[in-house]
């Protein structure tokens, strides 16, 4: 399975023992990936042109050419949506809305709303459902929402969505990142299959559907009949 392809993780993998990777990932990969500190990491290897290091550029880590295998798979994508930051934040913060545009998410229901705990039902292999229980770990109104899975979850996962003003009154740049530690067995194979061909595919499509829904009030389909949808 194609895994975390970020220069941040590359850095993490080389500098830390394996067991610390997942904590680091959360800190570096998700916490800082969208932040400025992520762009300041230097790759400490001699490359083709004989340069011993190249300063990191301003691109997000997941677009790096160097890919690395680690414990977590990450999908992420940015899309510009022509709506104010606060509206988008509020729509997303109401987790129940997510199943409206995430293809594989059947429902998201609160367990303990006050603690930001939710139960996600994901369409699983062969008609089974996969249950994920998460809690909100960061909540900055109008800026970002991050969540991580609880012990009771069938999949170890972390996610974060951030909202920034787009330049020139173009609305909001929405960046979503989802990382998960693929479990073994049948479930693991299913997840691998789902994300293998193109790790960013699912996240990318879901974000596009989010954009369609808020910009047009509906999600485009070429189905000619409701039953074909």
């Amino acid at each position: 399975m194609k895994l975390y392809s970020d220069r941040e993780q590359d850095f993490a993998a080389r500098s830390e023992p394996i067991e610390r990777q997942s904590t680091l990932l959360w800190g570096l990969g998700l916490g800082a990936l969208a932040g400025a500190s992520a762009y300041a990491l230097y790759a400490a290897r001699r490359d083709r042109d004989g340069l011993s290091y190249r300063p990191a550029d301003s691109a997000p880590g997941r677009s790096a050419k160097q890919s690395r295998f680690g414990e977590y798979a990450v999908v992420g994508r940015t899309v510009t949506i022509d709506r104010p930051r606060d509206d988008l934040y509020r729509y997303w913060r109401n987790f129940k809305n997510l199943s409206g545009f995430m293809e594989n998410v059947k429902s998201v229901e609160p367990i303990e709303e006050a603690k930001g705990r939710f139960r996600w039902m994901i369409e699983g292999p062969a008609g089974t459902d996969v249950r994920i229980e998460t809690e909100v770990v960061s909540d900055k109104p109008g800026e970002e929402i991050a969540w991580r899975s609880l012990q009771t979850s069938q999949i170890d996962t972390k996610g974060k969505v951030s909202f920034r003003d787009a330049p020139g009154n173009r609305g909001t740049e929405v960046e979503a990142l989802i990382a998960y530690d693929p479990p073994g067995g049948e479930l693991g194979r299913w997840i691998a299959k789902l994300f293998q061909a193109e790790p960013a595919l699912q996240g990318r499509r879901d974000l596009k559907r989010f954009k369609m829904l808020v910009e047009t009030g509906e999600i485009a389909t070429s189905a000619n009949r409701k039953s074909d949808k």
């Binding site: 193109e198 596009k208 047009t216 070429s222 000619n224």
Partner: protein, 396 residues
């Protein structure tokens, strides 16, 4: 309902398929009264555009009567409408800039991956034009589901026949945008390759926009005759050296603007065409580019290249040096139809624009396959085919 379906290269059939329904709130269902076959459909018919599946309903030039409108549609039952071939949401960045064919939200998310990989960005949705453009069932059918029906369709007032207004769906705006993209100035010489419907409308539009002379190039006598009738001078490329003639006919200056209204399947026995044909036949995604190459060479220094002709892949031997060294400008794209429908309807009403002259054949929908065959293989006489679902087949 009955609908024209694609089955394979040069194999299209009218079949019975399920009727469409309102699926999304902004949808409307149109009962088709007239629908045309386009040069763009021939690229599908010839199998040179990928992503068409057996059973897909073709057709993107259509008009009809509203039979059902979704809760968020602004249309009303029984209104007569012409529907643009470009499906556009009206609210995204591109639609707001009037770049309707670049709409971000009309191509379903799960269909966007392919063109995103191939072109760097996903294209907008089009009716009946492969799954790359959304896989929307097309208009060569009795009924069509029209998404975003509050944005695209233009309501036609009483007093117009279908034949007057049908081409607002595509080729009339396409010819108009082709001329607009040529940035025509007073006194300009404009050369137009291809005297199919798009080229003929481009000729008419270029003259309206002030070109001093328009030179149209093709090899079908009847199509050249129509171009002449529209006011163009003509070149038959089987009789004449095109580049030399264009220089001579423009005082040694070269045309100020050139329009490629042929696209990826240009004909002729030029060596580059034959090479392109071989590559196209073995399916390595090479477009035929003879006309575009010739147009770039013909264009005067600092001139403009307008490309309404459709391309879908890669072009070999693109004369980039000529483009750069002569400082040419190039503009192209699927037409932003919604940008032009109102103004062009007004011009039709004023009698400024003639739309009927190019219709050579009207057939019942049931005979659509004949229409395709003849529009493809008897191009001289079959200049434009309009299909009518309600027309009775001719006796005998």
């Amino acid at each position: 309902m009955r609908a024209l379906t694609w089955q394979g290269k040069h194999d299209v059939r009218v079949e019975t398929v399920p009727d469409p329904e309102i699926v999304n709130p902004r949808d409307a269902i149109i009962e088709v009264t007239s629908t045309a076959i386009c040069g763009s459909d021939l690229h599908l018919y010839d199998g040179v555009i990928p992503g068409v599946l057996s059973g897909d309903i073709l057709g993107h030039e259509f008009m009809g009567r509203v039979v059902e409108a979704g809760p968020k549609s602004t249309l009303k039952k029984d209104q007569r409408v012409v529907v643009p071939f470009t499906i556009s949401c009206g609210g995204c960045f591109h639609c707001k800039k009037q770049q309707f064919s670049a709409c971000d939200n009309s191509n379903p998310a799960e269909k966007q991956d392919l063109t995103e990989m191939q072109f760097g960005h996903a294209v907008g949705g089009l009716f009946g034009y492969s799954h790359l453009a959304g896989g929307y069932p097309g208009g060569q059918a009795e009924y069509v589901r029209v998404p975003f029906s509050d944005v695209g369709p233009i309501v036609i007032p009483d007093g117009f026949d279908d034949d007057d207004v049908l081409f607002l769906s595509d080729i009339l705006p396409t010819g108009w945008m082709a001329a607009e993209n040529a940035d025509i100035e007073e006194g300009d010489t404009v050369a137009v390759w291809g005297c199919g419907p798009v080229g003929l409308f481009a000729v008419q539009s270029a003259l309206k926009m002030g070109a001093a002379q328009v030179i149209a190039i093709d090899h079908y006598p009847n199509r050249l005759r129509l171009a002449r009738q529209m006011g163009a001078k003509v070149i038959d490329y089987t009789q004449t050296h095109v580049l030399e003639a264009l220089m001579e006919m423009s005082g040694g200056h070269g045309p100020d603007a050139v329009i490629d209204a042929v696209g990826m399947e240009s004909h002729g026995f030029a060596p580059d065409t034959m090479m392109d044909n071989v590559k196209q036949a073995v399916g390595i995604g090479a477009d035929g580019g003879h006309v575009l190459r010739e147009a770039i060479l013909a264009c005067r220094k600092g001139g403009r290249v307008s490309v309404p002709g459709v391309y879908g892949g890669f072009l070999d031997k693109f004369p980039l040096g000529a483009m750069m060294e002569k400082g040419l400008q190039i503009r192209t794209g699927q037409t932003h139809v919604q940008r032009y429908t109102k103004e062009l309807l007004h011009r039709i009403a004023e009698g400024e624009i003639d739309t009927r002259f190019m219709i050579s054949h009207r057939l019942p929908l049931e005979q659509a396959a004949d229409g395709y065959h003849n529009f493809r293989f008897n191009q001289n006489d079959w200049t434009k085919v309009v299909l009518k679902p309600n027309m009775q087949p001719a006796a005998g």
